[in-house]
């Protein structure tokens, strides 16, 4: 087993790979521009519009300083000729010229391959298989971890100008679709503002100071406060807060995971708030991806299932809230807490889907399958688009059978889960 790698040693071919044979090194010609043909005249430069003579360098010092530009074919024809004439006389410059020309050969246009976002979960799972984590990321924070990493990878790949690309935020205000025209940068600010509610519930600093306000109010406040912030800082603020959230989640005990996060009128326990934030992160990442023409996939099936499950669990309260607001007809029967009332069978199809039975008459009622009065079936991504307020409840591609009013209640309530 040779420790030597054939550099300068007496290898079988005797000195193969020795880089500098004694004497005059061979000077490679400057690189020609790859696609647009030869750029430099072979021999004598054209005499015509000669530049002022003083621009043709003659001193060793100046010629030496030109070597980098010469190697990159980035000086004038006169300078090129002067450098090359000098190289026949000056051994030190000739040596350096060889080295720099070889260095240019190592440059190449950036491949910009972009990592497959699915590699992350495979690599992390393989690591954790080799050595289990002492402080794992809890299952309820895993979708947030994955979705923020995916969005960050997208942001890494877009150019400065694309941060100002127009993006329309869309949601369903209870009665009709609503929206707001904004930019990629503003969408990230929106995510930062609302994530801040979870941060302050966990005792982390709130980017807006006091951890209060509805998502919409907070978003407006953050936009006003960061109107002159450059994209890099917008991204860093969102990402660093997200990292701090994941870290806090990792160290959170059951009590902390159950702390209430207040979203204005409604509240969610921290562990559900992480699912909610993962959902929003994905939905807005898709908004951004659409705006900058970047491919984007749904979350992994396991994570998607968690996100759909959260929406399904939130539905009974959303239906009740719509009734209180006079946006939906009253409950058919007074259901006692814990007693069975009417229920709707929600079937979400595709990877990440599942079956849920939604109590219709009271959030506190139970919903055993025999109380089913209606059945709705829709695809997981369609369900999520509905829950994001991106599809009108009456336009959702849903298979349905049974009580039409119950179905509409459920579809409208699903859309009403969305907000700015």
């Amino acid at each position: 087993m040779s420790e030597e790698l054939g550099r300068g040693g007496a290898g079988p071919h005797g000195g193969n790979g020795a880089s500098g044979p004694p004497g005059r090194p061979r000077i490679p010609l400057p690189r020609t521009a790859a696609e647009d043909g030869p750029r430099w005249p072979e021999a004598a430069p054209l005499p015509a519009p000669a530049p002022p003579p003083e621009t043709v360098p003659t001193s060793h010092k100046v010629l030496k300083s030109l070597l980098g530009a010469w190697a990159l074919a980035a000086c004038s024809p006169e300078e090129t000729a002067a450098v090359e004439a000098h190289l026949t006389d000056c051994a030190t410059c000739a040596d350096e010229a060889v080295r720099l020309r070889e260095a240019v050969a190592l440059l190449h246009p950036e491949d910009n391959l972009g990592l497959d976002p699915r590699l992350r979960s495979r690599v992390l799972a393989s690591c954790l298989g080799r050595r289990p984590a002492r402080v794992p990321v809890p299952a309820w924070a895993a979708p947030y971890d994955a979705e923020t990493a995916r969005l960050d990878a997208l942001l890494h790949d877009i150019g400065e100008a694309e941060w100002q690309a127009p993006v329309r935020l869309r949601w369903f205000d209870g009665e009709r679709p609503a929206g707001r025209d904004t930019t990629v940068a503003a969408v990230i600010g929106h995510l930062t503002a609302v994530d801040g509610l979870v941060a302050s519930a966990l005792g982390l600093p709130d980017p807006l100071g006091d951890g209060t306000g509805s998502p919409a109010e907070r978003t407006e406040a953050l936009w006003a406060a960061r109107s002159a912030t450059p994209p890099g800082a917008v991204r860093a603020e969102w990402r660093e807060q997200g990292r701090a959230l994941i870290r806090s989640a990792s160290f959170a005990d059951d009590e902390a995971a159950g702390l209430a996060v207040s979203y204005g009128p409604s509240t969610l326990p921290v562990r559900d708030a992480f699912l909610d934030r993962a959902f929003e992160c994905w939905i807005h990442a898709e908004d951004i991806a659409g705006a900058v023409d970047y491919p984007y996939r749904p979350p992994s099936p396991g994570h998607l299932h968690e996100l759909v499950g959260l929406a399904a669990r939130m539905l009974p309260a959303a239906i009740a809230a719509r009734r209180r607001a006079g946006l939906a007809p009253p409950a058919r029967a007074l259901a006692l807490a814990g007693a069975p009332g009417r229920s709707l069978h929600l079937e979400v199809e595709g990877s990440g889907g599942g079956h849920w039975h939604i109590p219709l008459d009271s959030p506190a009622a139970t919903a055993p399958p025999e109380t089913e009065v209606a059945h709705v079936a829709l695809d997981a991504t369609e369900f999520c688009r509905l829950a994001a307020g991106h599809v009108h409840p009456e336009d959702a591609a849903a298979g349905q059978s049974g009580d039409r009013e119950a179905i509409l209640d459920a579809l409208y309530a699903t859309a009403s889960l969305s907000r700015m």
């Binding site: 790698l5 550099r7 071919h13 980035a74 440059l107 391959l113 590699l119 992350r120 690591c127 002492r134």
Partner: protein, 188 residues
Amino acid sequence: MATDGAPPRWDRKMQQRLAHGEAAALGELYDRFASLVHTLAHRVLEDEAAADRVTREVFGHIWEHPGDFDPKEGSLRSWIAGLTHRQAVERLRQSQSEGAATPEEIEEKVRAASAAARADYIVTSMPAPLRAALDLAYLRRLDYRRAAAQLGVTEDEARRRLRLGLQLLSTAHRGPRVVAPPAHGGAL
């Protein structure tokens, strides 16, 4: 976005968190270095699946042995680049030795792949002003006068940056000897 030049403090903190077995730290480590690792591995192996495997091996090794990193010997980034390089070159040797290549051809290929990977690393790690100058001259094909105007520096300074950038890059041909053949199936 500048992911380079993380302060040594960040490196030490990361090492402590990894040693403590914090999965969130592993995720952050991946987010910061996966693209470096994958690109270097791909430069050596020229194969997507093989680069994926090297990425898995390298992060697996760091996660299992965070104590192997010695901040006194350099940055976490350069340590990870070295691990990647060794791992990738070892795979390259294995795959080549299964073919019809002679030992000399294999070593020549390893040498060229190593220089290319080191060059990538040097380009991504060099000071931003040097890299910007090289990008203008090489990728955008500006002559140094126009590059100077674009960068808002003197022509002298543009020449200096181009020369310095290439001098840095040329060290890729020498480079640290991180290509020693595998000893006895060590972790990497």
